[in-house]
């Protein structure tokens, strides 16, 4: 859905933030967009929809970061959120094996629903708590590689790895968008296809939850 325009093109990307509650999704994105952590002076009213303007190798990029509700009972709503997204950041807590398991479920679901159009980033957050680590680096990295995702280690508290994570994601999304454009030739047909994507078909969210359950079970 990269809205590419004429001469000086601007890319608009939608990135969904997935992860169980308490893995630090909000801290991560607040650190990235506001450069603050657990700060009383955070000015933004909310941390669920944030935007960031970037300039990558002379190209302007508008990043819209969509937070999602991570509690289990909202799991079935995932597809409504990540429809038409260009990228997904899947966050787990390195001290919590369960949260990594959740990430695996999401990856399966995303690949099933969106195929390879979506760029995935798997993020092990809270590396400042390395002494309590429960998810091994090797396991996480090899898993990420096996599903075609990049793996990053971050700490919102120490502000480590976050810039790199989003920069890399943006670069990959740009590549995907450019490849898409080349494939489709002109811009109009590309945007036409993007338009089709927005039509919310009512039974689609029904279809996925069952898939989600199967994959988790």
């Amino acid at each position: 859905m990269a809205a590419a325009a004429g001469g000086s093109r601007t890319y608009s990307f939608k990135v969904v933030l997935l992860g169980e509650g308490c893995v630090g999704k909000t801290s991560l994105v607040l650190r990235y967009c506001e450069n603050k952590f657990n700060d009383k002076h955070i000015t933004t009213l909310q941390a669920s929809f944030l935007t960031k303007k970037l300039n990558i190798t002379g190209k302007r990029v508008n990043l819209a970061i969509w937070d999602t509700a991570g509690q289990e009972r909202f799991h079935a709503l995932g597809p409504i959120y990540y429809r038409d997204s260009n990228g997904a950041v899947l966050v787990y807590d390195i001290t919590d094996q369960d949260s990594f398991q959740k990430v695996k479920n999401w990856v399966k679901e995303l690949r099933k629903m969106l195929g390879n159009d979506i760029c995935l980033c798997i993020v092990g957050n809270k590396i400042d708590l390395d002494k309590d680590r429960n998810v091994s680096v090797e396991e996480a990295e090899s898993y990420a590689e096996s599903v075609g995702a990049k793996h990053f280690h971050t700490s919102a508290k120490l502000n480590k790895g976050i810039e790199e994570l989003f920069l890399d994601l943006c670069k990959r999304m740009m590549e995907t968008a450019q490849a898409d454009e080349r494939l489709k030739g002109n811009g109009s047909s590309q945007s036409a296809s993007s338009r089709r994507g927005v039509q919310i078909v009512d039974d689609e969210p029904q279809a996925t939850p069952s898939g989600g359950c199967c994959s988790s079970g």
Binding site: A5, R9, S12, T26, A76, S194
Partner: protein, 513 residues
């Protein structure tokens, strides 16, 4: 005196009672002195004229709109030829159409007056007939009235496009053509209609994109106006169309939300503290905004309502938690608001926005995010079960069937069941107050009872006390009967033993005098 009044009373000439048309029947003052038959004829003639006038006005408006274009367009090309005086020209040009608008306005005013008159005109009896008449004639009056609301929008649209020089005219032409085209496609399915509108948006956006050489801001502006213009006109025919089951879904959702009236903040884990006045104020505002959505016609305005509602929710969370709200806070809160508000025609509105909103807004922007969350909330409410509220299935079943209400834990009657207290009390301050008052009253009653009881006890006590005292006295009296001792009454001096020792009484001494 009395004779004179009588005479005045019957002073009605027979001819005054007859129909003014002179057909020989009696007339009626309510029908302006005509008989029913003549009145009906007369009325229909007036009505026909009205319809024709409306037509003429509609055509005139149409011509004016076109003329406004031509003039604005004409003057905008002029500065090219007369580059020396470009300042003066536009000012002068804008005078023309404006005066015309004035004229249009006064026209509308008079029209309004006549409609009002029409309402107050007599013969409520013929009202049904009047409507039949209206229905029969292929008159533009109904469509005319609908477009009456849209006149303002058209005018704004024209004003906006005036700034755009040549393409403005093209855009207007295309939009008009598209609307005419759409009105002939009424029997298409909703998805096909949506496809048409989206194709139109797409085509328009592409053209604008190439015209503005890729800068997206003016394109967005124009697209917003185009959307507003088109959707205001198409709203009636494409909102909740008969070809879809939107209406059925609306009803289902509405009933579902009603059945879920007992869901509390705690079950949804919403971080609102409604004890804080600012929070409850924001909650009320959010509810108002989401309800208001139904009254808007343009998809973008509907989105605006959702966004405003979301902002109020964020404020409420921010005040409660003192930190920015994440999606984990926001979604449950939105669900709660939707449950409390039960917004009218929720599904229809969601479908309408999805089908006819300009896609660029829906997919990337902030509005899109909030709209997505609303879709999630609707989906969640539809599928909500015991697990998603952290309840046991039995509890959920009991609450759903209205046998119990979570607030009072169990056996107490449900509000809808006529019981004294309601589960919704927590959310509704008035209801809470009511409950409170009821409790006070009942406690007052019981206290009064206690006082009365005590008073009765006191009375009994008093009675028994007097009796017991009496009994005691009697007992004592019996025990110690009253003996009257006989006592001998004697002279005072009788007992004096030593009288003899006393000196003799003084005797009076006589002195010689």
């Amino acid at each position: 005196m009395s004779q004179r009044t009588e005479r005045r009373g019957i002073h009605v000439d027979q001819s005054d009672l007859l129909c003014k048309k002179g057909c020989g029947y009696y007339g009626n003052a309510a029908w302006q002195g005509l008989c029913s038959k003549c009145w009906r004829e007369e009325y229909q003639r007036v009505r026909q004229k009205q319809i024709q006038d409306d037509w003429a006005l509609a055509e005139k408006l149409q011509r004016e709109e076109e003329a406004a274009y031509a003039s604005s367009h004409g003057t905008q090309t002029q500065p090219h030829s007369q580059a020396s005086a470009p300042q003066q020209q536009p000012g002068h040009a804008s005078l023309g159409p404006f005066s015309k608008f004035e004229e249009k306005k006064t026209n509308e005013k008079t029209r309004k007056v006549t409609t009002v008159k029409k309402f107050f005109s007599p013969s409520s009896r013929t009202a049904s007939k009047k409507e039949n008449q209206e229905g029969k004639t292929p008159s533009p009056s109904t469509s005319r009235r609908a477009s009456f609301d849209t006149d303002q929008v058209s005018r704004d649209f024209v004003d906006f496009l005036k700034n755009l020089q040549k393409p403005g005219r093209d855009i207007h032409k295309q939009c008009r053509a598209f609307i005419v085209n759409m009105s002939s496609k009424k029997d298409l399915s909703a998805d096909e209609l949506s496809e048409c509108v989206q194709d139109f948006y797409q085509g328009m956006a592409d053209r604008l994109m190439s015209h503005f050489k890729g800068s997206s801001e003016p394109v967005e502006q124009v697209m917003d106006q185009v959307e507003k213009y088109i959707m205001t006109r198409l709203y009636k025919s494409v909102f909740c169309p008969e070809t879809t089951d939107d209406e059925k879904k609306d009803l289902a959702t509405q009933n579902r939300i009603r059945a879920l009236h007992w869901v509390t903040i705690q079950m949804l884990c919403v971080s609102f503290d409604e004890e804080i006045p600012e929070v409850s104020e924001n909650v009320v505002k959010a509810i108002t905004d989401i309800i208001e959505m139904d009254s808007k016609r343009v998809p973008r305005d509907k989105l605006g309502c959702i966004t405003r509602c979301s902002k109020h929710i964020f404020s409420a969370i921010r005040i409660t938690k003192n930190e920015p709200a994440s999606a984990d806070d926001f979604l449950p809160a939105l669900i709660y608001i939707v449950l409390k508000a039960n917004p009218p025609r929720l599904q229809s509105n969601i479908q309408y926005i999805t089908r006819f909103c300009n896609p660029s807004r829906l997919m990337t922007g902030e509005d899109g995010y909030y709209f997505t969350n609303l879709c999630c909330a609707a989906a969640f409410i539809e599928k909500l079960d015991a697990q998603s509220l952290n309840l046991s299935p039995e509890e959920f079943e009991r609450y759903m069937s209205g046998q119990a209400s979570p607030r009072f834990g169990g056996s107490e009657g449900d509000w809808s069941g006529g019981g004294p207290a309601g589960g919704a009390g927590a959310a509704n301050p008035a209801l809470a107050q009511l409950n409170h008052n009821l409790e006070l009253l009942s406690s007052l009653g019981s206290r009064q009872e206690a006082v009365a009881e005590a008073a009765r006890g006191l009375q009994a006590d008093l009675l028994s006390w007097t009796q017991s005292v009496e009994r005691e006295v009697h007992g004592i009296l019996e025990k110690y009967p009253l003996e009257v001792l006989s006592c001998t009454v004697s002279a005072i001096d009788a007992n004096n033993m030593d009288n003899d020792n006393l000196p003799p009484p003084l005797t009076p001494q006589v002195f010689a005098g």
